[in-house]
């Protein structure tokens, strides 16, 4: 039975300082008992022979120097089991759906360990999300971490839900599941996710961890780790393909900053601690595939970036760790285009491994490059028109301009429930490219052009000038 201490000397923000303890391990789990009977949990942040610093997850409200502190002799662990599927848990891993406690098949440390890079398998399996801007231009593959870079007031939740609903690996019936971690989002937003999961039956194969806006901020630091621990168990021990949705990482980073400030650490950019990169990496890097294991973890973190400023540390550091990003764009949203995914700043680093012959289609890469280039040029021309007017445009400029408009309306825009196959996506791409001069299609080689360009396929179609 661990000893109880009544030696709290200082309470500051989410931290308590305890002295005259036995020797306590770094990262150990702590139980704080308040005089009124409330029990709170915390973790050791700094342990010395003189003083132990504890961060309290539920916040320090109500803690006084009469409260007692118990060190539990182990780091934070999560009870995992396949019975977690279909359950709703709190941000700290306790059931909140009124169901019975989870009978653990195993208790696992939530910090997780780094996957040995040598054990990793390079992700290469195409996930069809049914969304053209993702499948066609920023392909998602199993084991990838691909965040949604969004902002306040944009429909990132709808996009994430559509991905969760439609995601599939072609020709595969392997078990698929969703682990959802909410950090500091509102009840309303959480409701949308839960309702959609219920409506589509996805809840049966999902685990939800909810830390909502009125839950303690410090708890947000463990919520995603709980979720990823559950995901790792389901993926690597049960063999499921798990899609992890983490929302909203911005709230997570705020909590991290709060702890840093409370510890009086030297702040880095915009007050975030200097180790924010490493801290985020210990979560994002838990996506992947492992040689010889059936399951996989694919991550879609959601970031609502303050003021849409991508140089903000949360977006910036995330972009440096994740394998690309999907940009949910305000200007497209204003034009009432759904999904408002702007392909230009979006990127999927693992795309090339997942596309091409035998995976999607041999022309995929070239079509994607060409669509990108043309849309970028069209958007540039749009900027030019604002200055010099349409009259001054060359023929190429005019066609590119028209291309950009049609691209947005026909390629980017699709319905909430519209699940496009990859062939359908590529065909729309070719149809749009056919409006341009063939000589401008420099990203496409002759052979591909002759095989797939609409003008070369149908005998009744005219060859572009």
């Amino acid at each position: 039975m661990p000893k109880e201490y009544r030696t709290i000397t200082e309470i500051a923000g989410p931290l308590i300082f305890v002295e005259k303890t036995e020797w306590v391990g770094y990262g150990e789990l702590v139980e704080v008992n308040l005089p009124d009977g409330t029990r709170k949990r915390g973790q050791v942040l700094d342990s010395s022979k003189e003083i132990v610093v504890v961060q309290v997850f539920e916040g320090t409200a109500g803690i006084d120097r009469q409260s007692t502190v118990k060190f539990l002799g182990e780091t934070i662990k999560l009870n995992v089991s396949r019975d977690m599927l279909g359950r709703i848990l709190s941000g700290a891993g306790e059931p909140i759906d009124g169901g019975p406690p989870i009978v653990p098949e195993k208790r696992v440390d939530i910090t997780g360990s780094a996957i040995n890079p040598y054990s990793r398998e390079h992700p290469a399996e195409f996930i069809q999300t049914g969304i053209s801007t993702i499948d066609g231009l920023n392909t998602l593959v199993r084991g990838q971490k691909l965040p949604l870079f969004s902002g306040a007031g944009l429909p990132h939740n709808e996009v994430a839900l559509q991905i969760a609903r439609q995601a599939k690996v072609l020709g595969s019936n392997e078990p698929f599941g969703v682990v959802f971690a909410a950090m500091g989002i509102t009840h309303e937003e959480a409701r949308v996710f839960m309702d959609d999961f219920e409506r589509t039956g996805a809840l049966k194969r999902a685990v939800l961890f909810l830390n909502l806006a009125d839950d303690p901020a410090v708890e947000r630091l463990i919520t995603p780790r709980m979720a990823l621990t559950a995901a790792e168990y389901l993926a690597y021990e049960i063999g499921m393909h798990i899609l992890v949705i983490l929302t909203d990482m911005t709230n997570y980073a705020e909590a991290l900053r709060q702890i840093g400030a409370a510890r009086e650490e030297v702040p880095g950019r915009r007050g975030y601690p200097g180790y924010t990169y490493t801290d985020l990496a210990t979560m994002y890097e838990r996506a992947g595939r492992i040689h010889g294991k059936k399951g996989s973890i694919t991550q879609i973190p959601i970031l609502s970036i303050p003021d849409d400023d991508w140089t903000h540390p949360i977006a910036d550091l995330t972009g440096y760790i994740t394998e690309g990003q999907i940009a949910v764009a305000r200007d497209l949203h204003r034009k009432a285009i759904y999904p408002p995914i702007d392909p230009l700043p979006s990127l999927s680093r693992l795309m090339d491994a997942g596309i091409g012959k035998d995976r999607t289609r041999e022309d995929h890469k070239q079509v994607a490059d060409q669509l990108y280039a043309a849309y970028a040029e069209g958007k540039d021309v749009r900027g030019l028109v604002a200055i010099v007017g349409k009259e001054a445009l060359s023929d190429r400029d005019r066609k590119m301009l028209e291309f950009a408009d049609r691209f947005e309306q026909e390629f980017i825009r699709q319905g909430h429930e519209e699940d496009r196959t990859i062939e359908a996506t590529l065909e729309i791409g070719w149809k749009l490219l056919a409006t341009l001069d063939e000589a401008w299609l420099t990203k496409v080689d002759r052979k591909t052009l002759e095989k797939y360009h609409p003008a070369h396929r149908g005998p009744d179609q005219e060859v572009a000038a």
């Binding site: 972009g319 990127l347 890469k365």
Partner: protein, 590 residues
């Protein structure tokens, strides 16, 4: 790992006790160690290094996760600094930041990196055929070669007298098959040369003399070789916001540069990227020797979620490996991806030490550390009198893509080549997204001679022409933005077309295209020469009042855009040039 042998050699010099644990920083009492000596911390003997001494308190950065480590647990002082093992078997290996082989860790710990496991950097099992190069009685000094081992098909691993030996006459040299910890030569000084040696990672290996770089490191990347070349023994920085292609560029260089040995440090980057290297490189052929690319490589992988202190050490581990092969007389290329993560590791440790921070929380010694690191690059005459070089290419990941931040600035003050990756170019799918206006190479003058002699006399002239055209384009674009393209006189309108060709045909290069991924200098020259020819003929035509639209719309121009993808490059180019002549003749301009 390397440490085990240190512990064995030195024995545990002293045993102290943990006083405090705060993440990767552990304070111990009861020790009197030297700075940077290796310590084994706690019951699990986690490896660490002394980074500060305050009275009786020794502050140690630990290379492994410290969860659960308690005050009161023991600390062992090995009395020796962090060293790596240098010998046959380095090539083709993949290590963590402190030279533990990842495949061995996988065998011992499974798919996840746990802690407290030690493993030597070089396998003790494999035996190597040693061929002596000296005879008994011959005098050898530090750094001299006593024999060799065929490490890979095309790499002869030269076994050298360690630089910290006194040297003497060879008393005995053995012929046969040996394991790395066996003695192959005995000197009359009593010193024994083994098949491997150890070296402290933070100490540069000595050379006889530093030489000026005069030979380019050929990369097969047009924008690099032609516009911003790096010399063998030179230093380059690739800064760029996320997604601009730092890693792709580093990987392209590792694949195609003409160094004999490549050391690739994945420092605080993505696990999946290291896997990509591991899964693709063994399948690729070295374009210079035809051997598998992995045969000339050693990988150091300390991904972003692996312990931060080991990340700090990883760049030094990699550099020491590079210097070792340089000492054999090889040209070595060292890729460090990314130096910003290394700097961040320094920042994190510094902040745990509660040091007074410099700019953006980075320690005040950041730029000194960067300089020390890049100064270990260079072309040199080795102790044995051979010529070798270490070229360093460091990726920089500026926060917010802002080049004014301390790591980028600290790096630019010391490196000679600057390849600026550009987010706007990336958005336009211009790859490699290296900005041709802001990038520079301070070697381009020195290397001109080599390109003139080895590729074409006209190389510098064409290079100047291409740069001028691109510069002119930037200026003309300003005008176009104000008054529209129609307002330009025909010759300037054509210049814009030519600049576009230089960008699209020459500068853009597809790393994923089997042919285009590697473009040797001779081919680079032919391609730019063809564009120049088109430009000259075009200007002539324009003077004869041929509309620019007609010049720009020639079929041969379209052919020229595709010729770089052709396996039969020379044949296709010839055809294109012939067609160009004909078409311009029709316009009356040939």
């Amino acid at each position: 790992m390397a440490m085990k042998s240190v512990a064995k050699d030195a024995g545990a010099k002293a045993v102290g006790e943990i006083f405090r644990v705060a993440g990767p920083v552990v304070t111990a009492t009861g020790l009197r160690p030297r700075m940077y000596d290796v310590q084994f911390v706690g019951g699990e003997q986690l490896m660490g290094e002394v980074i500060q001494i305050k009275g009786d308190k020794t502050i140690i950065q630990v290379y492994e996760d410290t969860s659960g480590v308690k005050p009161g647990e023991p600390v062992l002082d090995t009395g020796a600094p962090l060293v790596v093992e240098l010998g046959p078997g380095l090539l083709g290996s993949i290590y963590d930041g402190v030279q533990r082989p990842l495949p061995v860790l996988q065998k011992v710990m499974g798919d996840f990196i746990l802690r407290g496991v030690k493993s030597p950097g070089l396998t003790r099992e494999k035996a190597w055929k040693f061929v002596p190069k000296v005879k008994a009685g011959q005098a050898v000094g530090p750094g001299d070669v006593v024999g060799s081992v065929q490490e890979a098909k095309n790499v002869e691993h030269r076994i050298m007298v360690p630089p910290n030996f006194r040297g003497g006459k060879v008393a005995e040299v053995r012929d046969g098959t040996f394991k790395v910890d066996e003695v192959v030569a005995r000197l009359d000084s009593g010193e024994q040369v083994k098949l491997h040696q150890t070296w402290p990672v933070r100490k540069p290996r000595p050379v006889k003399e530093r030489l000026m770089p005069t030979v380019p490191l050929i990369t097969g990347q047009r924008v690099l070789d032609f516009l911003f070349p790096i010399a063998k023994g030179g230093t380059a920085a690739i800064p760029g916001g996320f997604g601009t292609g730092k890693t792709v560029t580093e990987q392209q260089l590792s694949k195609w540069c003409d160094a004999q040995v490549v050391i690739y440090i994945g420092c605080g980057e993505r696990g999946n990227e290291m896997t990509e290297v591991l899964s693709t490189f063994p399948k690729l052929e070295d374009p210079y020797t035809g051997a598998p690319l992995m045969d000339r490589m050693s990988l150091i992988a300390n991904t972003s979620n692996m312990p931060v202190a080991a990340r700090e050490a990883s760049v030094y581990t990699g550099m020491t490996l590079a210097e070792y092969y340089r000492d054999m007389g090889y040209n070595v290329a060292l890729m460090a991806d990314s130096t910003s993560r290394w700097a961040e590791a320094m920042r994190e440790i510094s902040s745990r030490l509660e040091e007074m921070p410099g700019e953006e929380g980075f320690p005040a010694y950041l730029s000194a550390r960067l300089s020390e690191f890049y100064e270990r690059a260079g072309r040199a005459k080795t102790l044995a009198g051979l010529e070798g070089s270490v070229s360093v290419v460091g990726a920089v990941s500026p926060s917010g893509g802002d080049f004014s931040e301390p790591v980028t600035q600290g790096t630019l003050r010391i490196v000679k080549v600057f390849w600026a990756l550009d987010t706007a170019l990336r958005a336009r799918r211009h790859f490699p997204a290296i900005n041709w206006l802001t990038s520079y190479s301070l070697y381009s003058q020195i290397l001109e001679d080599w390109f003139r002699k080895n590729v074409n006399e006209e190389w510098p002239r064409l290079r100047a022409w291409a740069q001028r055209t691109l510069q002119e384009e930037a200026e003309l674009e300003e005008i176009v933005r104000l008054v529209g393209a129609d307002a330009l006189p025909p010759d300037q309108a054509l210049t814009l077309e030519v600049a576009r060709m230089i960008r699209e045909i020459f500068l853009q290069q597809n790393a994923y295209h089997p042919v285009d991924t590697f473009c040797p200098p001779a081919r680079q020259f032919k391609l730019i020469d063809a564009i120049k020819k088109y430009s000259d003929l075009g200007q002539k035509a324009v003077k004869l009042d041929v509309p620019v639209k007609d010049v720009a719309g020639l079929k041969s121009r379209e052919l020229l855009t595709r010729v770089k993808y052709e396996a039969e490059f020379d044949k296709e180019l010839e055809k294109t040039l012939a067609q160009m002549d004909e078409e311009f003749k029709k316009l009356g301009a040939a």
